[in-house]
């Protein structure tokens, strides 16, 4: 049953991809539009998401950063964060056919499930700001990594400050 849906979706995607003219893509090469997720599927394997590292690097180069930071237990955006997000929004608007996974993180000094909620608060605030800068909702998805993906490994305020963040991840 799942394979039938997949092949059907792929057939639709194929036909869509072959029609029409596109503007010549800037460096690097853009992928075609992604296959939509079946909202009723309970197959975990239907959820895979594909990162686009070359475009991620382009975002960082052109917007300055793909990451903004937060205070302890906070999810409000300071001025620096807003400036960074405004630049990210401009990049997204200039780079159609990719989506952004807005990913919230928390430091280790919180319990596991609360941090999953806190990460979502951070990602949600970030997504709301990007939306206010004109990025459409259907190009963004929000997620939370809780405390599962620290970048800094110390148990001190410097490390924790680097881990309280929201990252804009470019996905297909």
């Amino acid at each position: 049953m799942n394979k039938t849906i997949l092949i059907g979706m792929t057939a639709v995607a194929l036909s869509l991809g072959a029609c029409g003219r596109k503007a010549p893509p800037p460096e690097p090469v853009l992928p075609a539009a992604p296959a939509p997720v079946d909202p009723n599927s309970t197959d975990p394997n239907s959820l895979e998401v594909v990162e686009l590292p070359a475009l991620q690097a382009d975002l960082v180069a052109k917007a300055g950063s793909d990451t903004i930071y937060f205070g302890t237990d906070e999810y409000s955006l300071d001025q620096a964060s807003q400036a960074t997000l405004a630049a990210q929004a401009r990049w997204l608007l200039a780079t159609p056919n990719v989506r952004a996974s807005i990913e919230g993180h928390a430091d280790e000094r919180g319990t596991r499930e609360y941090n999953q909620a806190l990460g979502e608060r951070r990602a949600n605030a970030t997504r709301d700001f990007l939306r206010s800068q004109g990025v459409p909702d259907n190009r963004m998805t929000v997620t939370s990594w809780g405390k599962e993906r620290p970048v800094a490994t110390g148990s001190n305020e410097e490390a924790w400050a680097q881990n309280r963040r929201a990252v804009t991840v470019i996905i297909r």
Binding site: T111, A117, S155
Partner: protein, 430 residues
């Protein structure tokens, strides 16, 4: 006349005195000495596996914190015929108070019987015995059942040794941690992995009968609750589509799963049938409502919420009504879990450090059980006497499972092959 009256009065008086003395039986008061029971577990005769059976019993009894087990090495052996009839004076001379004996015998159907006897050496009598028929490769379970028989009879508690633990096995550095769902016997043996480690996984929990799990996988870069059938390995998303779902737990009848869903900056608690269908929303106040846990009678749910400004514990009816705060001890409170008997709630208390504590189910009576830097995620043993949790070290963030007696005492590290977190203790097997 006076004489008769005097005699009568004397008679009544002496009868009264005699009756008083007869009714007030003298009272003997016993000691309540807190010390471990020295218990001998020699090698069980009848089959070479008897040595390992005795070793598992020794290790199980030691893990209860109530015994000083001796053996199986260094103890005299005995024959199958002597299992039910030991030489008590010898054991008394050896300074042991109790003795576990038994034997192993093949059965006509190819299985084996493991016979288990518990003796009170001091009183020179047998306290109990039971036989367990198992396939030969399931000898471990017979050993756990024997240890449970001994533990229950000598402590008055319900058993807890023939159980499993599902948890997250952790390997690798803090910034590239590989996490896999793992199941093991609660003595650390038979450890195996249920996921391959491609996606981060957290908080696996057993169903009430131990036949299913719910856990959270970061498949597709989002935390999502999966429902997993232990026997077949089949799994599916609890909630289809693109939602952030986490913190799942089964209801006591195994039919529903309560969980958190995060959307638009707010996290609320929902409940859904384990066989699929529309989830029902239970909380809606602005704030992060998470870590729900059912009372054993299925009527109430304890959860954490920061609606007051900080993480605190709340209790509500299973339909979401009557939400009221129960934690008032200063500090923040998280990850509550209702005890199997319904009388207590375990939690993580955050006040500088993260420590495991218990309180009465109605609130109050709070006792902190551990003393780590970051102890969190409690899970009750099925007899309510122990709580398992994970402890994270500062710096490199190595995480290990520990078990601590609820009545007080040191936490004991669990023998996992690698790091471990988010333990969930199964009910008694079978």
């Amino acid at each position: 006349m006076r004489m008769i009256l005097t005699l009568l009065l004397a008679g009544i008086a002496s009868t009264a005195i005699a009756q008083d003395t007869q009714e007030a039986a003298p009272e003997l008061v016993g000691g309540s000495v807190k010390s471990n029971v020295a218990i001998a577990v020699p090698v069980m005769p009848g089959d070479p596996i008897g040595r390992q059976v005795s070793q598992v019993i020794v290790s199980d009894l030691r893990s209860t914190g109530l015994f000083t087990p001796l053996g199986p090495g260094g103890l005299p052996g005995y024959s199958v015929e002597e299992a039910g009839n030991p030489a008590y004076p010898n054991w008394r001379n050896a300074g042991v108070s109790a003795l576990v004996s038994g034997y192993i015998e093949p059965r006509p159907d190819g299985r084996m019987t493991v016979a288990c006897y518990l003796h009170d050496v001091t009183a020179g009598r047998e306290l109990t015995h039971q036989g367990f028929a198992v396939t030969s490769d399931n000898w471990r379970q017979a050993a756990h059942k024997c240890a449970d028989l001994v533990y229950s009879r000598l402590s008055g508690q319900q058993p807890f040794l023939d159980t499993r633990v599902v948890y997250v096995a952790e390997t690798g550095p803090k910034n590239n941690r590989q996490k896999r769902v793992a199941i093991m016997d609660s003595d650390g043996s038979n450890n195996r992995y249920l996921t391959v480690g491609r996606h981060t996984v957290v908080t696996p929990r057993f169903s009430p009968r131990g036949d299913k799990l719910v856990y959270v996988s970061y498949i597709g870069r989002k935390p999502r609750v999966l429902l997993y059938d232990v026997a077949s390995g089949q799994e599916r998303l609890l909630i289809p589509g693109n939602h952030i779902t986490f913190a799942p737990r089964f209801s006591p009848n195994g039919r529903d799963v309560v969980f958190s869903m995060a959307e638009n900056g707010n996290t609320d608690i929902y409940i859904v049938s384990a066989s699929g269908g529309q989830p029902r929303r239970l909380t809606s106040v602005a704030g992060a409502d998470t870590s729900p846990s059912f009372s054993p009678d299925g009527r109430q749910i304890v959860f954490e919420s920061d609606r007051s400004g900080t993480q605190q514990l709340y209790v509500m009816s299973a339909d979401g009504g009557g939400q009221r705060r129960i934690s008032f001890g200063g500090g923040r409170y998280a990850s509550p879990v209702w005890s199997p008997a319904g009388n207590m709630i375990a939690f993580t208390r955050i006040a500088g450090n993260f420590r495991i504590g218990v309180m009465n189910a109605g609130g109050g009576g709070e006792r902190i059980l551990t003393d780590g830097w970051q102890d969190e995620g409690p899970s009750w043993a099925p007899n309510g006497q122990f709580v398992m949790f994970h402890r994270t070290a500062q710096g490199a963030g190595a995480t290990r499972l520990y078990a601590v007696p609820v009545s007080g005492g040191s936490a004991r590290i669990m023998p996992t092959p690698a790091g471990g977190s988010d333990p969930s203790w199964s009910p008694i097997n079978n």
